[in-house]
């Protein structure tokens, strides 16, 4: 078998066929999110049932993945989302992207319905080939035990993409989880319910067995080395990537978001949490350090930023890895919970079930508003999550995410766009991120274009569309390279680095507009898929209640003009 050229690995779960194909010409210059968008338009009928046999899943490493370049080893997973009904790309750190690049897999596609006999499978891939194996012994297991058994069976150095019981039960919050650089099965392609798509095909896990480094070839070795060196130097220069996120992680965002009046509090009824100090990055850092946890941890092998952490409980034992801002916002302040240990336990439980902490936290907020828990009652929140794990009727409702939970429980204030929950920035206080939530083809998602760091008045509706557009284009570009948002701080300091890396890696001769144009084309493809799937301008709106209900303490409503939202992508 030719293991030097990039290939596409295609698995039909219904027929059991596993085959390698050459990379189609139109896919050769695409990776990560850009490839997921092209793939969906090329192969997935936009009107298909997301949980039916005509939907497909794709794993696509970004264009620069495989070189252990700091923060540039991310994997994108794509498919039609059962949560939004539209295009979905969910990327994650960990080792899956790197292992795929080392196995020369440009993409891995899973298609067809479940095996006719109803059995569950795992896919094993190594340099010699790939095959399906029975996975019935893993069904009903959480991700911790799934990871443990897979490593026992195939060795500790494997890469894994797997679903927990959430994906098996077709929860719309279910993600696909990858192994990090320390063998924790906790890095989740979380958003949009792609774990349910994997579950609908009865694929429990993929094992990537490639223990030794096999970095992809580089056209201009010296040029690549030089651009990599400049990139690392820029990361080391930037205080966010060399100091703040290294020691405080994304939890450093709590105080900033709270100061802007934008932290979700009690189902997005306030933007400032009175106990923000108790769940802040500073508190978590000090607590974790005093307990012997790791305040700094790399989720990808070559990362020098190390924004992740391993959070220890009072007994010094790991409670969860990582504990991040979005989870703190949605499972903490959004529920009125002020205890980092409770948030960590909720996070750990969600990780084991394999579900998105953002949509699940938002669904719990909706449940609290419906009277199913008191604000701040951590024990009750854990009980509700336990119901999600057990699959009780109430647990299934919460596991279906905030939009479904709000409909079933009779709550009008659903914090969603395109059926997907807001991240931990209230769109009324951080209006540029609100524009991203409204317009991104992905549904409400801060990772599609977070504007909070921009030096603008975040309450001024007039300046937000241009800001969001620019960040969305660049972000979709980074998502196509396999770069983490943290890496973008280094790239932004010297924009020539991205084209230099691409030209050294592939010899394509791209120019300075490469990143933005790659991102823009990606978004236009995604938007086209959504249009064909039946989306209209009505889907590009912040919920109407947020245009009327003033958010304390700023008193802001979402008031960016709908006309501007509808034409955001008309400008290159």
């Amino acid at each position: 078998m030719d293991t030097t050229s990039p290939r596409v690995l295609r698995i039909n779960m219904e027929t059991g066929e596993v085959r390698y194909e050459p990379v189609p010409e139109g896919w050769q210059r695409l990776g990560g999110r850009g490839l997921t968008a092209r793939f969906l338009l090329d192969e997935v009928p936009p009107l298909c049932d997301p949980l039916g046999p005509r939907n497909k899943l794709i794993w696509a490493p970004g264009l620069l993945v495989g070189h252990m370049l700091s923060s540039v080893d991310r994997i994108s997973v794509g498919g039609k989302s059962p949560l939004t009904g539209g295009v979905k790309e969910a990327n994650a750190g960990g080792t899956t992207g790197m292992k795929m690049a080392w196995l020369r897999l440009h993409a891995l596609i899973v298609e067809g319905g479940p095996p006719p006999d109803g059995s569950w499978k795992l896919l094993y891939v190594n340099a010699e080939g790939a095959h399906l194996e029975d996975a019935s012994d893993l069904i009903g297991l959480g991700l911790k035990e799934t990871g443990r058994r897979l490593m026992e069976r195939f060795g500790p150095k494997i890469g894994i993409s797997a679903i927990g019981t959430g994906g098996e039960r077709l929860y719309l919050t279910a993600g696909i989880t990858h192994v990090d650089s320390d063998r924790n099965l906790t890095r989740i392609s979380a958003r949009g319910g792609l774990g349910a798509v994997m579950g609908s095909k009865h694929l429990k896990a993929i094992v990537f067995d490639c223990p030794r480094s096999n970095q992809p070839p580089v056209v201009d070795r010296e040029g690549f080395k030089d651009a990599s060196k400049r990139y690392i130097a820029r990361l080391q220069e930037h205080p966010q990537t060399s100091q703040i996120y290294t020691f405080y992680g994304t939890a450093a965002m709590v105080k900033m978001s709270n100061a802007f009046g934008g932290i979700p509090t009690r189902n997005f009824s306030a933007g400032s949490f009175e106990d923000a100090d108790k769940i802040s990055g500073e508190t978590i850092h000090d607590l974790n350090e005093s307990r012997g946890g790791l305040v700094s941890h790399a989720c990808m092998p070559g990362c020098i930023i190390k924004c992740s952490n391993v959070y220890a409980g009072p007994d010094g034992q790991t409670l969860v890895t990582p504990l991040e801002y979005e989870t703190i916002g949605l499972m903490g302040s959004n529920l009125g919970i002020n205890d980092p240990d409770i948030i960590a336990r909720m996070n750990d439980l969600a990780n084991d079930i394999g579900i998105d902490t953002i949509d699940t936290g938002a669904a719990l907020g909706v449940a609290a508003e419906a009277g199913l828990m008191q604000w701040g009652d951590g024990a009750r929140a854990l009980e509700l999550l336990e119901e999600v794990r057990q699959g009780t009727p109430l647990g299934r409702i919460i596991g279906s995410g905030a939009a479904a939970a709000a409909k079933v429980l009779g709550v009008k204030r659903a914090p969603v766009v395109k059926g997907q929950a807001f991240s931990a920035y209230d769109p009324r206080a951080i209006k540029g991120t609100g524009v991203t939530y409204a317009t991104s083809p992905q549904g409400a998602d801060h990772t599609a274009g977070l504007t909070i760091r921009a030096k603008v008045d975040h309450l001024d509706p007039a300046v937000q569309v241009e800001l969001s557009r620019s960040i969305q284009y660049n972000t979709a570009g980074y998502d196509s390279l396999g770069a983490c948002v943290m890496g973008s701080f280094g790239f932004a300091l010297e924009p020539a680095i991205v084209p230099d890396l691409i030209n050294a890696r592939y010899g394509w001769g791209v120019g300075p507009d490469f990143l933005r144009e790659l991102g823009r084309q990606t978004i236009l493809l995604e938007r086209e898929f959504n249009r064909l799937a039946g989306f209209t301008p009505a889907d590009d709106r912040i919920p109407e209640w947020m245009t009327r209900e003033a958010l304390p303490p700023t008193g802001a409503v979402f008031d960016v003009s709908p006309e501007e939202l509808d034409t955001i992508y008309d400008t290159p």
């Binding site: 966010q240 100091q243 703040i244 996120y245 450093a252 105080k255 802007f260 977070l450």
Partner: protein
């Protein structure tokens, strides 16, 4: 820290993330005596806050620009800018 020019105001500065690391230890807040009419930007200068941190400043819990004039008893938060969660 004191300032000789009367009349003075006393404010509390809340330091966040890496700004807490001062003089070899962690300092979450400190009190400053300033001449009246002082602004938030004077606090940043006094504390030698690195401009590269692009600090976000808040006064009594609400975002406030650096040119905001301070009053006695004010609580000022200085938060290095971050993004990404």
């Amino acid at each position: 820290m004191t300032h000789p020019d009367p009349p003075a105001i006393r404010i509390t500065v809340h330091l966040h993330s890496i700004l807490r690391h001062r003089e070899g230890r962690i300092m979450n807040r400190l009190e400053l005596d300033l001449p009246s009419g002082s602004r938030i930007e004077d606090v940043l200068r006094l504390l030698e806050v690195d401009e590269a941190l692009e600090p976000v400043t808040a006064l009594n819990g609400v975002i406030a620009p650096e040119e905001t004039v301070l009053s006695d008893g004010d609580q000022v938060a200085v938060i290095p800018s971050v993004a990404g969660g």
